[in-house]
Symmetry: C2
Subunit: 340 residues, 2 copies
């Protein structure tokens, strides 16, 4: 296929703790098809790899392709990734994935095409930077508001990776000595704004007897945790606890993102991630408002925009990993390639 006159098609897989999203992308970045499946909660890496294959196959079948006919496949995975070796080092969100695993190599053998691995947030930010809300800008900060708060940095049109771990905006300190974060440290923005942290706090409040619809909504929708959709439902029903915790999250996002803007003076901030996408534009505006009191140059704030690619951004960004002509040129790194 590669030498032929058929168009090159790329596969992208967004591997999440609850779902696997696949897309096929043409060279212009158009989505040709997509499929979505539930992430296996049993069976560890082998079961997950089987389902990654199946989801991709399903998306390929819609456009009458076999996975082996793809020009390349990218996978965005949660947790620490060694992109050069294609190894998923650890992934706290993936059931049974508790040791480094050569995901790219194994999936590549299964598919018979090259497979590239990236961090899920990094690839989603890359997708929005290049094909979505970030297109008009040469410098931007992606803030992915979901289970945690991840980020990605584009400067002078290129992704800034540092020594491999740049963009950890969720672990900027917004209140030294403050709330305990899941990373073990204190006062990180994620300790206030991450959905996991918010759920922990909501559970404690409910246990103390505070009234909230959050957990009854969760049960009604057959979930075992507070998904972004549940938070949105609770906000729509004007649930006091949900409103209070979201307001607190937004205050801290405002301080943390404004701090990053004071440091980098980027043209734009793109808000994405599960919560960002689900809560949408009104909450993006609240974040912009919460940033304002902390901006060092308030008369010239950055544009604050909602991710345009939404739920598909992760899979689209993963597919871009397999297009070195697009992604390879757009990275700037420090001098070392070491990764945490």
């Amino acid at each position: 296929m590669r030498g032929g006159d058929k168009k090159r098609v790329f596969g992208g897989l967004d591997l999440g703790g609850t779902k696997i999203q696949a897309v096929l992308l043409d060279e212009q970045g158009n989505v040709l098809s997509q499929a979505r499946r539930v992430t296996p909660q049993k069976g560890g890496p082998p079961a997950i790899l089987e389902e990654l294959f199946g989801t991709l196959q399903e998306a390929a079948r819609m456009v009458k392709l076999k996975p082996s006919e793809l020009a390349g496949v990218g996978v965005g995975a949660p947790g620490a990734v060694d992109p050069v070796a294609g190894v998923l080092l650890h992934a706290g969100n993936l059931p049974g994935w508790d040791a480094p695993h050569p995901l790219a190599e194994v999936l590549s053998k299964k598919l018979n095409v090259p497979v590239f691995l990236g961090n899920d947030v990094q690839v989603a930010v890359a997708a929005d930077a290049r094909l979505g809300a970030g297109r008009p800008y040469q410098s931007l900060l992606g803030v992915w508001w979901g289970t945690g708060v991840g980020g990605g940095i584009y400067l002078a049109g290129r992704r800034w990776m540092g020594r491999g771990a740049a963009g950890e905006i969720g672990h900027m300190v917004v209140r030294r000595g403050g709330a305990r974060c899941s990373c073990g440290r204190r006062g990180c923005m994620e300790a206030y704004a991450g959905r996991a942290a918010m759920e922990r706090r909501a559970r404690k409040a409910a246990e103390r007897g505070e009234k909230t619809k959050l957990f009854s909504l969760m049960e009604k929708h057959g979930k075992d945790r507070l998904s972004s959709g549940i938070w949105l439902q609770a906000l729509k029903q004007e649930d006091g606890l949900a409103e209070r915790l979201i307001a607190r999250a937004i205050r801290m996002l405002g301080a943390g993102v404004a701090s990053a803007v004071n440091l980098l003076d980027v043209e734009a901030v793109i808000i994405g991630g599960g919560l960002g996408t689900r809560l949408g534009q009104p909450y993006v505006e609240r974040i912009a408002e919460a940033m304002r009191p902390h901006l060092f140059v308030p008369q010239r704030p950055p544009d604050v925009r909602l991710s345009e690619l939404g739920d598909l951004g992760g899979a689209i960004g993963a597919a871009l990993l397999a297009q070195p002509s697009r992604e390879g040129r757009s990275e700037a790194r420090g001098s070392t390639r070491a990764h945490p």
Copy 2:
């Protein structure tokens, strides 16, 4: 001179609230001579310009040059600078300098050589990045600890300016809703670690009756404010209040600088500025230690180094402004040139 066989010599002027420092620099970055004078506290811009000229003339005379024989002169000034127009927009630290002033143009006519204007901290960081402690690194963060806390960013060997105002590390929020900063906002790192903020707090403590040698040392040395040297003296005498306020500043510097490192993952942090330079290596190590609990990748901290150019860094960096072949190549900006 320009077309002749004489070596090109550049002048650099560091304009501070209390002193003016001049250096002459050859094309290799060697300091040929230097002079230092007190900043006039009366007479506003005309008096200050006269003294800038005089200090430079003094430095030039030592190597038997006239100011007009210099290949170019750079000035590093405190406050907001329009580097393209050469206008010092406002400078809170300079007595009587309360309106925008075309400093570069006026001084250029006086000297009969091209004059370039830059922000004092930015040029000092540039000097250390290229000729000092930053030389081994492709990416670094300069943290200039003085009256305020300023900064400068080098990524992939180039200065990152954003839309013109990048590097305001002192106004990263380390405690949302915390101490009032001189910028009017709350919880900025500078509100805890800036020397001006520390002095305000020390005065309040003294007024409340807390014992401290800070102000008697100040008077003994004929100062009317707590200079970096006074803080060092007080620390040497184990003054409890000085130790407490410096410890607090270091805690906040630790959180703020670590936050910036989590975002940018730079190879190195260079500590400079009046306090950084005066307190020196033991305090640089304390800052590195204070960063550690907040680093997202603690097993691979950045190198934390003391500025090598010390008090002369500002003037050396100013002289580099006049060498476009050195400085011009090393800037990366966003797409707009607007300046606050």
